[in-house]
Point group: C2
């Protein structure tokens, strides 16, 4: 079975088409924000649906662009919401960033400057790298630092920084932007890695906030460079997933709430795709003639899978 | 006389070609940062050169993308450096932003949210508009505010904001980014105006720092919108200049240190162009085969005009 044709009209998930989809899929890949939860609130019917899928022998994999947490921190969040999910079922863009460095034999003697949060720094630490700049508890936080714009002041940066990782950072400031810009512009060969480029995300339950795409664009603006993106829709994370789970991508279904990350990621990797309307994408956005990313299926929320199968 | 051909090889300014250039020009337009000064230090020979040009009857006009100051504040800076320049000889991108609103009949009953500094807010105030968000002394400063990312917190923004102006802001933070993003995404018809898109600038004498292009890109990243740019290389400011000075653009020479703003601005407006190497552009950047912006002339610094004419 091959990936869908992008020009195909997406089908609403129904009691008729759910069975063939279910039977043709061995693994369900879920985005988290807007699919499993919204901010700190679980979306209705998710636990029962995941339990049913596991009971039918389906693999469950969670693929999130949100870099603010490490895999360990995500496992804690799942548990706190009453969901039993193991660390190695979770693929976050924070993990992907440090895995990108590993795969590319980035020297542990070089340092990594981070615009982002704990998640990235913890994953770097677990991979044996030294992160600077973020807010990981054992390290210094640059979020409270102020750039000194005095006439004769020379802003110093660490010449041993060989990579800058940029993710969502609610403590973004001019100090961090200058630090990261100097690393990329002045340290020879310095990598510029973006966890993801989501424009906005549900940082709180009630509304959207600027996403990593905001901080990444800021760095593109000051460096005039383009980043290596490791999160969705880049298929970098899929390589790891495939090594671990050994399931053909044509027997995977990517379930997500965003067209330009989740659905595109699924399509790029050759998966079936299911858009849920419980997150950032509305039905009118999906049906807008300007939208050129069409999922195979769409439905209102994850629990529809359970309801339609029981129908 | 028409604008130069972009494919033409730029000529070094010499004792032979300075005379015809000088005689064919009635007004010299100068960029400031990297041309007149660097940070707070005057570039050698500038006062004598400007005095000579005035004594020969040339109009002097100062066109700067730096939005951190108003025209009044720029006049103060010129005076503090011993240069006699009047407010109405100065065209800053802060002034251009408020003039853009005026020209487009932006209602004074609507407010303007500012990511940027005093310069923008003072110009808005002088034009009869209410600015929010920046650091103008009579207004509240959002630079010290923190976004509250609590679960049930709803970030409120002013629904009467009808324009967002983004310039260089050393106090950039997540609060401001969220505020401006909500205005652009949720207030119907809200304008998104960029003072300029310079990647970097000399915020201090000794090195470059992220420029307005950094903050503007951040806002493009979170809003997925493109701004109206009022600074160089947009020719918006030229309209004002021409009304005031009534000199044909073919009898103007734009003198600047940046190819993608100053020289392109001069070319777009139909001026002669002179690149000085006292700022961000090196001779090797100019001669790089990938550079496709070629000034008519180039020289090391402004005072060469004086030296070559006296030769």
């Amino acid at each position: 079975m091959t990936s869908q044709n992008a020009m195909q009209v997406p089908q609403p998930l129904t009691a008729y088409n759910i069975k063939p989809l279910f039977n043709s899929v061995d693994a369900f890949l879920f985005d988290c924000d807007g699919v499993i939860w919204k901010g700190d609130k679980l979306i209705d019917g998710v636990p029962q649906t995941l339990d049913m899928l596991r009971s039918k022998g389906k693999k469950l994999i969670f693929v999130t662009n949100n870099s603010t947490k490490s895999r360990r921190q995500y496992a804690d969040k799942f548990h706190s919401l009453g969901l039993s999910v193991a660390e190695d079922e979770i693929f976050s863009s924070s993990f992907a960033a440090s895995m990108y460095l590993k795969v590319n034999n980035f020297s542990p003697e070089k340092k990594v400057y981070v615009i982002g949060g704990d998640g990235i720094l913890e994953e770097l630490h677990l991979a044996g790298y030294t992160g600077l700049g973020g807010s990981y508890i054992i390290l210094q936080e640059d979020g409270d630092k102020r750039a000194q714009l005095k006439s004769d002041y020379l802003f110093q940066h660490d010449k041993s920084v060989g990579a800058v990782v940029v993710g969502l950072d609610p403590n973004i400031n001019y100090y961090k932007l200058q630090y990261a810009t100097l690393c990329i512009r002045e340290n020879p060969g310095c990598l510029f890695i973006a966890t993801n480029r989501d424009a906005v995300g549900h940082m709180t339950d009630l509304q959207e906030w600027p996403g990593a795409g905001c901080m990444v664009a800021a760095m593109c603006g000051s460096t005039e460079r383009e980043p290596i993106v490791v999160g969705k829709p880049s298929t970098f994370m899929m390589e790891f997933l495939l090594k671990k789970f050994q399931i053909d991508t044509s027997r995977m279904c990517m379930v997500g709430d965003r067209l330009d990350t989740d659905i595109l990621f699924g399509q790029n990797a050759g998966c079936r795709t299911l858009l849920v309307l419980s997150g950032v994408t509305t039905q009118s956005t999906l049906e807008n003639p300007e939208n050129n990313i069409q999922p195979d299926y769409y439905t209102s929320q994850v629990s529809d899978i359970l309801e339609l199968l029981e129908h």
